[in-house]
């Protein structure tokens, strides 16, 4: 699992103000890995919160609890 570099490339280009901006292969690879780490960190922190509440299913509530600190950490 993980982001495809073509998808990340499209996401980055979506946000570039100057369409002539180019992304090097290394920078793209780094962004792919960064997004994967962000998502896994969000998911695992959600899991930890659900486990702390003895829940088998991670729901939006558990994610909302860890979200402020997650966003501050990235």
């Amino acid at each position: 699992g993980g982001f495809r570099k073509e998808l990340v490339s499209r996401l980055l280009n979506l946000h570039f103000r100057d369409q002539k901006t180019k992304v090097s292969r290394d920078a793209l690879q780094l962004m792919v890995e960064f997004l994967r780490i962000f998502v896994v960190e969000a998911a695992v922190r959600g899991v930890r919160q659900a486990q702390a509440e003895d829940l088998d299913i991670v729901d939006v509530e558990q994610l909302e609890k860890v979200l402020p600190q997650l966003l501050l950490d990235f």
Partner: protein, 116 residues
């Protein structure tokens, strides 16, 4: 190859992950953050949640932010620790009756000539 989903992936997404009108929560949004104290009421454009949409809230569980949550591969940033400290100070102030410990702590350093 173009970054989009293949036929097969699209049908998997459609079946496993896509939120439907029949779901209790049909859409998830993360509204832009604004500071009430920095803007006057008129200028703040608030997006009313559409029916069935859940707006993720960063303040819903603010009382829980007085301790750092467990992390996985990425530790807490300094900013996060500062945030948790501030939430602890606010939590402490909430339970104070007459005196304000924060004020008592700072008062010895107050020199009115600095203020005037």
């Amino acid at each position: 190859k173009n970054g989009f989903l293949s036929e097969e992936e699209f049908s998997l997404w459609n079946r496993l992950y896509r939120l439907r009108d029949s779901d209790k929560i049909k859409e998830i949004t993360l509204p832009p953050v604004h500071f009430p104290s920095l803007e006057d009421e008129e200028s703040r454009t608030t997006q009313e949640p559409t029916m069935g949409a859940h707006q993720l809230s960063l303040s819903e569980w603010r009382l829980w932010q007085d301790h750092p949550f467990p992390t996985h591969q990425v530790d807490h940033s300094d900013r996060c620790h500062q945030f948790v400290n501030i939430m602890q100070v606010i939590e402490g102030m909430r339970h104070e009756e007459d005196e304000c410990s924060y004020e008592l702590e700072l008062k010895p350093y107050l020199k009115m000539e600095d203020v005037i």
